[in-house]
Symmetry: C2
Subunit: 85 residues, 2 copies
């Protein structure tokens, strides 16, 4: 079974309330080493057999149309993952 990873993050200029909330939690835990925290999404798409270029092309297309909102998010990576687990 092959896997494709798609990673989506909020655009840098977009306010990220979730990321701000996480950083606030860090500060309450006394951890102030991180100057910023942003939270995005990570998708794992499984395919039968090995990942092909066709699979990657479908994944790129879906990443741009279904897995992200192009107004506020960027697709930062689409790649075939070695079989993690």
């Amino acid at each position: 079974m092959g896997r494709i990873i798609v990673e989506v993050m909020p655009k840098p200029e977009i306010l990220d309330p979730q990321g701000k909330a996480v950083r606030g939690a860090f500060l309450r835990h006394g951890v102030d080493v991180f100057t910023d925290v942003r939270q995005g999404k990570r998708f794992q798409l499984s395919v039968k057999g090995a990942v092909t270029e066709g699979h990657l092309e479908s994944a790129r297309e879906l990443a741009a149309t279904s897995l992200s909102n192009p107004i506020i998010e960027d697709v930062v990576a689409v790649y075939a993952a070695e079989d993690e687990r």
Copy 2:
């Protein structure tokens, strides 16, 4: 500015309703090449200057305690990212 990426996914045995919903959307778009879809979280932690082992250690600790729920999620990666954007 250095960046650390933390990636969190639902445990394989845990039902992933979001992933199921995404796969349903794919099928409605006529895309049935993906046998499974799972949705997790991707965090980007920024630090002043280059990423150090100390930063990574803090990130690993926070990943396990604040950025994931160990009962239903796995931390699948914690790594220093080249400066993406």
